[in-house]
Amino acid sequence: MINTETLPATDAAAAASQPASLFAALARQRVAATVLVLLTLPWILPNQSLAVNILIYGLYAAGFNLLFGYMGMLSFGHAAFLGLGSYTAGILIAHAGVAWWLAIALAIAASALLALVMGLLAIRTRGIYFAMVTLALSQCVYFLVYQFPLSGGENGLRGVNVPTIALPGLSLDLLDPTVKYYAFLVVVALTLAGLSRVLASPFGAVIEAVRENEMRTRACGFQVEHTKLMAFIMSGAICGLAGALNAIHLSSVAIESLHYETSGLVVMMCLLGGMGTFFGPFVGAALFLLIQDLFSQWTEHWQLYVGLIFMAFVLFFPKGVWGTILEKFHGR
């Protein structure tokens, strides 16, 4: 994937046809473009809950994409971060009456801490073990939370109620789906803005360098293990935020959010959308959820079709929907 930051503006515009220069402009304003599309979602989608889910799972996928798409590390344990974020925020709100903003902040911190611990264990292994170790560690988290008294075990957590958000001078009624959507969108937009800055920063360059050629990155003098750990923590934190939002959205937390199928879910979304691209995660989340929404109206076995579509993508469209579009029109 060409690093558009280093292409002089004239090159991109002059050398390519109209669609390509449009994409170059999009890349420069990727956060604004994403938010613009997300703004319109409630109006173009068949139902409201689908829109919020795309927002939440898109954020989940964006956090995962940082590690998988941009750094090249395939983790099969990201449900641990989503789930821990959900449970932390959920338990704090439902059992301790903590304010929503503090609960979210602590959820992010908890997920980041978990990422630190998991990262310290998983990153020391060779690349081929990484997927296996992350899966195993997240299953460990699943078992631990399952047994944790306040989590509700099999039945999950109920009563994560945040009916209103009181801001200075403004009271947002979260029971109204539209208000909830746009409140969440603000959070997602801010996160994406931060993520975009990190990706465009010198640190972001090292992340991509590790994906391109880890040995060479090491030889240049970078401490690759530190970089991997920091990216892992950032990734975990973003997914923890998505989990916290999910707990508030559903007013509950299901134990399945920690299950490895939820880890597999984000892998599928990321691949379907386009790994290593900024829009990919949201495209992937939207695609997956739309297929689920559509197909489940005809058959209860929609997962079969999603699975087959996923396999087809792995075989024939590994760059995902957005990645393939970029490749065709970016003039590469």
Binding site: L74, F76, L121, A122, R124, T125, R126, G127, I128, Y129, A131, M132, V133, L135, A136, L137, Q139, C140, F143, L144, Q147, E214, M215, Y260, E261, G264, V267, M268, L271, H301, Q303, L304, V306, G307, L308, F310, M311, V314, L315, P318
Partner: protein
């Protein structure tokens, strides 16, 4: 800690061996596939599950446990070979992640197909008449069927050892495990080797599933939970090492069973503690080679 006698510990040890036997079979298959094809087979648990269901289905048509014992691994191996040839092989050379992703998708689809065919609920499976009841093993009465599982595992491992150490095909497997490139350079038909090894690995997984069915029943989700164990055992033992798979499988099985006795709450996470310790002290696994695969 009342009521815990030496006999009880001994019995739990054997339970651990029976549990470990299944784990060993899974890890051995996984390691074989990785050693030869350099693929982490995320569908390994699904093949385990399919083995259990294949046994259930074939038994309806062929109500003879012993025939099923032979037929099931063969059936699963065939499925495995078809998967390798049609789905996995096109992805070689595309980087280590793609075959892994494909096998994950395959598992997803396989689970759904089984749900469609056999329903979402689990099904109980009877222990074959001949192996019901318990036998006296010095420390007490132990389910005969579990002894049988341990026995079959030992036989399979023995057969595998003979195959790898004593046949010319086994020589290729050993060479390929040392250095996958070498096999190609030596002019061997690599495609055939991959096919057979994948079939062998998945066939063994299917056998493990078939064997474990009477012990815990069958359900479409059984593959998922067992996949984690297979991974833990492989990481602990060392990827690509068959000795490692055996030692680690027994270790995990025994520790888990003993934990049930002494620290029941920790039983389920005991294997992760082992894995964490190994990762901290010897990241390549107990018998893994340092610097293997980056």
């Amino acid at each position: 800690m009342e009521g815990i006698t030496l006999e009880l510990v001994g019995l739990q040890l054997f339970t651990g061996l029976a549990l470990g036997a299944v784990y060993v079979l899974l890890a051995v298959g996984l390691s074989l596939i990785f050693g030869m094809l350099t693929i982490v087979n995320f569908a390994h648990g699904a093949f385990f599950m399919v083995g259990a269901y294949a046994g259930y289905a074939i038994y309806q048509v062929l109500p003879n446990f012993w025939l099923c014992l032979v037929a099931v691994p063969l059936a699963v191996a065939l499925l495995g070979m078809a998967s390798e040839r049609l789905l996995v092989r096109p992805l070689y050379g595309r980087g280590i992640d793609y075959p892994l992703l494909l096998t994950y998708g395959l598992a997803y689809v396989m689970v759904e197909l089984v749900r469609i065919g056999f329903g979402k609920q689990g099904l109980p499976v009877d222990t074959p008449a001949l192996l019901q009841g318990s036998s006296d093993i010095l420390v007490g009465q132990f389910p005969t069927y579990r002894l049988f599982v341990i026995g079959v595992t030992v036989l399979v491992l023995g057969g595998l050892w003979l195959f790898i150490e004593r046949t010319s095909f086994g020589l290729i497997v050993r060479a390929g495990a040392r250095d996958p490139q070498i096999v190609r350079i030596l002019g061997v038909d690599v495609g055939k080797v991959w096919l057979i090894v994948f079939g062998l690995g998945t066939g063994i997984a299917g056998l493990a599933g078939f064997l474990s069915a009477p012990m815990q029943g069958i359900s479409p989700e059984m593959g998922g939970s067992v996949l984690t164990v297979a991974f833990v055992v492989t990481v602990v033992g060392g990827m690509g090492s068959l000795v490692g798979a055996i030692v680690a499988g027994i270790l995990v099985g025994v520790v888990e069973s003993l934990a049930v006795l002494f620290f029941p709450e920790a039983a389920k996470v005991s294997m992760f503690v082992i894995m964490a310790v190994v990762l901290l002290v010897r990241p390549q696994g107990l018998f893994g080679r340092a610097g293997l695969m980056s």
